[in-house]
Subunit: 246 residues, 2 copies
């Protein structure tokens, strides 16, 4: 892991990093308390949605809330064809969205690649002195498409927030199989009038999740209208579980 940035902003230490995996460089960001106070901090990995990046507003604000309200560290990496993985640094949201849609349809290694990226990132982060507590995952939409398989694959993840996705799309079958393997506590979010992934498909994916300890929160509105309340709830949900595990 190579640090690209290290600064304090409004009470939170923010580091930029790059993790190498095979030929790939994975660009990431890490948020921790300025004074970690010795104990091994819990860590939440945040998977952004299509068209976004590790630095988009809701990723940053969720990460800051985890650190400041719950003393839980947070990290995010750019997904495939997003952010600093692109030559243009991810300026064009719509372009990234379309590139992701194309890759999702045509690149059969997309999911396994992102699972490997998350695992390599987690390996590197857990080697840091102040980390080493329980690990959670938070990712909606593309963050579920590529993150649910990671949650299923990596036993270090002990709580997850997933959603804005259904048993649908090019990797539908894979998602269903991986969902069945998940056994950690899950909060699953649904937008009632989701225009990308209809709620009926979301209900199927929720149903497929193997965990007995799961719950679904549904809110009115379209795909992008997740209310602030659910960001707050999901932070509290993860913090509570990770502290219980730890």
């Amino acid at each position: 892991m190579r640090l690209t940035e290290d600064r304090n902003a409004k009470g939170v230490r923010h580091r930029g990093f790059v993790v190498g995996r095979d030929e790939e460089e994975i660009p990431g960001a890490l948020w921790t308390p300025i004074e970690p106070e010795g104990a091994a901090l819990p860590l939440v990995l945040i998977g952004h949605g299509a068209s976004g990046s590790k630095h988009q507003d809701y990723v940053r604000s969720l990460a800051r809330a985890l650190v400041l309200r719950h003393r839980v560290a947070a990290a995010a990496i750019d997904g495939p064809v997003h952010g600093d993985r692109r030559e243009d640094g991810g300026q064009d949201g719509q372009r990234q969205f379309l590139d992701f849609a194309a890759a999702w349809s045509s690149d059969s290694t997309l999911t396994d690649g992102m699972v490997a990226d998350w695992r390599a990132t987690l390996d590197a982060l857990l080697a840091l002195d102040e980390l080493g507590g329980p690990v959670g995952y938070w990712g909606l939409s593309m963050g579920t498409i590529l993150g649910l398989p990671f949650v299923a694959a990596d036993a270090r993840v002990s709580a997850a927030v997933l959603g804005l996705m259904g048993l649908t799309g090019p990797t539908r079958e894979r998602l269903g199989k991986d969902a069945a393997r998940i056994d950690c506590p899950v909060l699953f979010l649904v937008q009632w009038s989701d225009e990308l992934f209809p709620r009926s498909a979301a209900f199927e994916l929720f149903d497929a999740i193997g965990s007995s300890d799961k719950r679904m929160h549904a809110n009115p509105g379209t795909h992008g209208m997740v209310p602030d309340e659910e960001f707050r709830h999901s932070g509290e949900f993860l913090a509570e579980r990770l502290v219980t595990v730890g």
Copy 2:
């Protein structure tokens, strides 16, 4: 309003009362802080489910949590054919359940009677010195069948927890119309494998609720398996709204 009981138990003042309405005596219970400290307290009205009563475990424990954790008063009344409205005082849960089912099917005044009971009870309670803050309603299953119409009818209710019910049953049409008139914040609870009111009907009722500020929480399990987490959430939900309104 006539007091039938007044005692302090484990940090909470508990009063029994009877409110008269026409020929009817409505038996109720009120939970308040032992030291109300002057301010007009918010109040949550709790409608129990079929086979239960104003004194059943979850009513009492929700009421105590509202008082102790949130400094919100709580009150419950026995529903029709339940509790102290019966000669036997409501000893036989199954008998009450069957009597309610029969009344629901055959007595066209059942809903209006309970709405009038709640309104008379609220009039009487708000005349007490320590009450007078914002009012919320909490009721699942029969507590929604008979309580949703009250929430729709009484503008004093400014937040509600409803659920374990769908657009189904003898009063289906009335429920749909009343749901559309509700415009306060609503938390709607669904049990994923509800054997009494299937989730598809619950989704329809959630959909019918007129409020833009609404959310649905769904949990695994059958009708009676609402997890403790949702009792806690729903108390927090109401307390937050009532304090915001006040």
